[in-house]
Amino acid sequence: MPEAIRLRGARIVDPAAGRDEVGDVGVAEGRIVPPDQLPAGALELDCDGLVLAPGLVDPHTHLRQPGGEDAETVETGCRAAALGGYTAVAPMANTDPVADNAAVIHEVLDLGAAAGLCDVFPVGAVTRGLGGEQLAELGEMVEAGVRVFSDDGRAVPSPQVLRNALTYLLAFGEVVVAEHCEDPSLSEGGQMHEGLHSGILGLAGKPRESEEIVVARDLALARLTGGRLHLLHLSSAGSVELVRRAKAEGLRVTAEVTPHHLVFTDADLVTYDTNLKVNPPLRTAEDREALRRGLADGTIDVIGTDHAPHPVERKEVEFDQAPPGTIGLETALAAVLTYLVEPGVITLSRAIEALSTAPARLLGAADHGGPIEPGRPANLVAFDPQASWVVEPPFASRSRNCAFLGRTLRGRVVHTLYRGELVVTDGKAQR
């Protein structure tokens, strides 16, 4: 059962409370308590030099279950999440069968509860079977707890269907349609960003416009409907600018970026490393700069991992035969600390906001994202921002297709508390 714990002397970074100071945090019976009200015999954890933050929340995960258990299961994915400092994840609907009905949503919720390593907030499909034609039974999934709907992997192809989804969901309050923005006719066959490097490497390209056209279309539909739109994994400078203008106009839109798009560029593909084959593709240094600026100024709201496990034999193949995707739950925090916080692109508080507070709001995950205040569920992460480590297997994820393989990152999760339980301590998963 949850024990009483004193986290002593950590730098508490809690964007939801506007707090950044050294102090103690008490945890008892799964909740935050004032340190002076801890029962005698509480476990003392020396957090000197560590940052204590609300547990991270991943708004964009692929847990592959049901159907893709050779790549990941809810349990292995949740363990990877806990080791990465996450206390909540949002698995996408592109499972087999597709999470387009309440039964599959309940199955994923049950698997998450059985694993008990973090909270699971399943994303429901917008259309049946991700087919793009008929709306899934959205209301029934809302009743099952779904707050985000997405056909991730593809955009809803028909503007009319997307219009209907945005409008229909107005009935249910803060419910979101999350779009993967890609025009399939422009990107068909594409293996990487279309540009200098695709030309030299002889790989078919996906132009920026394959994303930007759909971003522009979706923003127009948000304007038309007044619906709540979220844009997944932006990759191009033009998309960031479109979102910036839409927000200035007052549209109800939020946007996501992944750690790998914030770190790598298309130039990194010269080795044909299939772990860097992702969708949308890694773009140019100019695009990466725009994504970083967008994250810093709040145009981009959340960092999502797009954790996309694939069995090794599907990635150890010719580049054009490999599926896109990188795992990310175990490296996201360290990547953000190493490449964004340490060089001063964003502050630590902004990083925690984008990794925890803002995605918790997006998912309607009221128990997550802070504030770290007495009475609130104790979903917390403590990490050492200075510890450097080399990314290499074994991973807790069942897959090892990681874009950061071989890289040295700074920032290591020490403790993860999920509802007051130390699911990770001293950097090790407890079960």
């Binding site: 030309g199 002889g202 044909y272």
Partner: protein, 310 residues
């Protein structure tokens, strides 16, 4: 020289000159009655061809045999690959059998580089996807130097589907490296948008380019591109970009017509034009054997060269 030949960009201008010079010595071997030297006796060369290619495979096979190497031809139909074996497992098998060099032709760009992760021997790229075909470029450079006495300063047009051509990539990079002036000519849908960054010029007007050329290099046009709506019809392509009898008259005296083969007579080149004395396609084929002999010899560290990593 590196251990592998994956891309023309792996080579310096000096490397290229050295390869052409060694090929010069080996070309003589092909004129003998007994066309064989013992340079690679006891070495094993595997031709691993995932795509059909009669001319390149035979050229490599002859090159290796003329150097006295043992040659294994591994084509993918009717083999373990047809049964679904991965590139990795095929590579590990060839590695276990002690292949000193693997010549690979593959439909996927980058497959030769990927192969180097799993084998200890040298890997020679015999054409990968729409990436590169470095031995073709080297034999073309050899042919130009042989016929025109130099490469530096030559004005070369590469005409056709540059976007999907591994030959055009390797040849452009090689020519630019050697100081030639390259113009890519074709419908803009078939020219990579970033091509000017390669150090080449781009034109859609063949008639304007022809009078200033030392070499007019034609690429094979694939019917598939018309289906992809990259140009309206083969007829219109031939009209705008085909090398016709009339257009040959616009070429300066002494200029060459080249084509990597196989040709589509009547599309990118008129049948009569292909048979003109200044069209040197057969010499390209002959020189290809000498170039591949030179590469195998240099990469495998032939007689007196020491190890392959030297």
């Amino acid at each position: 020289m590196n251990k592998h030949l994956l891309s023309i960009n792996d080579l310096t201008a000096e490397d290229i000159v050295r390869i052409l010079d060694v090929a010069e010595s080996f070309r003589e071997v092909g004129t003998r009655v007994i066309k064989k030297v013992p340079a690679l006796r006891g070495r094993t060369v595997v031709n691993l061809f995932y795509e059909n290619s009669t001319r390149t495979r035979i050229s490599f096979e002859l090159a290796a045999k003329r150097l006295s190497a043992d040659v294994i031809n591994f084509t993918t139909s009717g083999t373990s690959v047809a049964k679904g074996e991965s590139l990795k497992d095929t590579a590990l098998t060839l590695q276990a059998m002690g292949a000193d060099a693997i010549v690979i032709r593959h439909a996927s760009s980058g497959a030769p580089l990927t192969l180097t992760r799993w084998v200890r021997g040298s890997v020679l790229n015999a054409g990968d996807g729409t990436h590169e075909h470095p031995t073709q470029a080297l034999l073309d450079l050899y042919t130009m130097r042989d016929r025109l006495g130099r490469i530096e300063g030559l004005r070369v047009a590469i005409v056709g589907d540059v976007l999907h051509s591994r030959v055009a990539r390797s040849l452009s990079f090689g020519l630019v490296k050697m100081g030639a002036e390259v113009t890519l000519v074709g419908p803009p849908t078939l020219i990579p948008p970033e091509a000017p960054a390669w150090g080449v010029a781009v034109s859609a007007d063949l008639d304007a380019v022809l009078p200033k050329l030392d070499v007019c290099y034609l690429l094979r046009i694939q019917r598939e591109r018309q289906r992809q709506q990259l140009f309206p019809s083969l007829r219109e392509y031939a009209r705008l970009f085909g090398l016709t009898r009339e257009r040959v008259g616009m070429l300066p005296e002494g200029s060459l017509i080249m084509h990597p083969g196989p040709m589509n007579r009547g599309v990118e080149i008129d049948s009569d034009v292909a048979d003109l004395p200044q069209a040197v396609m057969e010499e390209q084929v002959t020189n290809g054997i000498a170039i591949r002999m030179a590469l195998l010899y240099l990469l495998l560290g032939g007689a007196g060269e020491g190890g392959a990593d030297a």
